[in-house]
């Protein structure tokens, strides 16, 4: 984290190599955050570009004493994801019929090929489908905690909600996710 703060300082002094290093260090994490939230690789790619553009423009506003660069960048990403979620809400309402199809396919494939479900790539797809079934509030809490590895305090900074709310959302999100897995006939362990 300290290295990120140094890189930011070098960026602000006009060192383009430092910016390149920051981009390379965080691209994968930001892309994953966007993908887990949108479930769409193309949208995740576009949003990742938007995130870095915004970070580049507002880099001077980052203060290391207020938290880690990762947390700050996650906050920027989360704000963009919320904007994106609101923009595309209408489109998603028409997708409700499409959601039913993967559910049936999953049950069928679970009965036919149970041995292959241990493969991590498939687990990733299952998690993605399950994440889409829970509410955005709970989804983002689970993604930040269990897929991005942020601690409770960092999540509190990103979401700008009290600590009790963070704990409650993570807890309910995990329980909801476990229920969805059960309904889909999947066992992630």
């Amino acid at each position: 984290m300290e290295q990120d703060a140094q890189l930011v300082q070098q960026c602000l002094r006009g060192n383009s190599s430092a910016w390149e290093e920051l981009v390379r260090r965080h691209t994968r994490r930001i892309y994953n955050l966007c993908y887990r939230f949108t479930s769409n690789r193309s949208e995740a790619e576009d949003l990742s570009q938007e995130v870095f553009l915004r970070v580049y423009r507002t880099l001077a506003s980052y203060r290391a004493i207020h938290g880690g660069f990762t947390t700050w960048m996650t906050s920027v990403t989360r704000n963009l994801l919320i904007d994106h979620y609101r923009r595309t809400r209408r489109d998603r309402l028409t997708d409700s019929l499409d959601d039913a199809m993967p559910k049936l396919e999953n049950k069928e494939s679970a009965a036919r090929r149970p041995d292959q479900h241990a493969v991590l790539g498939e687990l990733s797809g299952q998690v993605q489908r399950a994440l889409r079934k829970i509410s955005p509030d709970l989804r983002e809490a689970v993604i930040l905690r269990d897929l991005q590895g942020l601690d409770y305090q960092e999540i509190q900074q990103v979401l700008q909600v009290p600590e009790g709310t963070v704990k409650s959302r993570i807890n309910r999100g995990r329980i909801e996710l476990a229920k969805v897995f059960e309904q889909m006939g999947l066992r992630p362990e």
Binding site: E20, T27, R28, R29, N32, Q49, V127, D146, L147, R174
Partner: protein, 208 residues
Amino acid sequence: MSWTCEQIEASLSEYLDGLLGEGARREFDAHANHCDRCGPLVARVSGVVSGLHRLELLEEPPQLAAIILDKTLGPKKQKLSWRSAFEWLRLLSRPRFAYSAVSIADFRPANLYRAADRQVHLVYARGSKFVADLRVVYEIQSRLRPQSEPGTGLENKKLPQNSPDNPPGMTNGPQRNQPRELNRADQLHPELSVLASALPSAYERSLP
């Protein structure tokens, strides 16, 4: 007092993340190990969480970082090196290029001699024309010089002088009794007449 099922469900994530104190953890275990409802719930959620933690980050599209850098820093300029500067020479060594070059070029001795002879004559003709032009220019200049030397008027002009009170380089301002610029149109007429008289003779001399 042992915990209720609601307490177990509310503290489940803190338990899994190791955030419960020693006493609370003991109470949690005591209830979960003997409750038909809470035991399976803890096992299911624990399985989901460990499954999520096992997931590795997906690989981003390979060109994503480059696109981001292009959008933020601008397109990357290609570095010019000696190797890239002489890259075109590599083309010459390719068999296809060498074959086509040989097929186009004519290496017969008679043609080579003819081409060289033509080049020599061309160079000689251009050189002699250049010398003749120079002679005309010098002749005109030498005719003009005796007229222009006494007519410049610069030796009679009073140049602005530095004032002793002002720092070096500063003058007393514009000289109101002197014209700011010499009217060169007045001097043009005698020079044109000399030029007109000199041109016919110079042209005749330049003819072979």
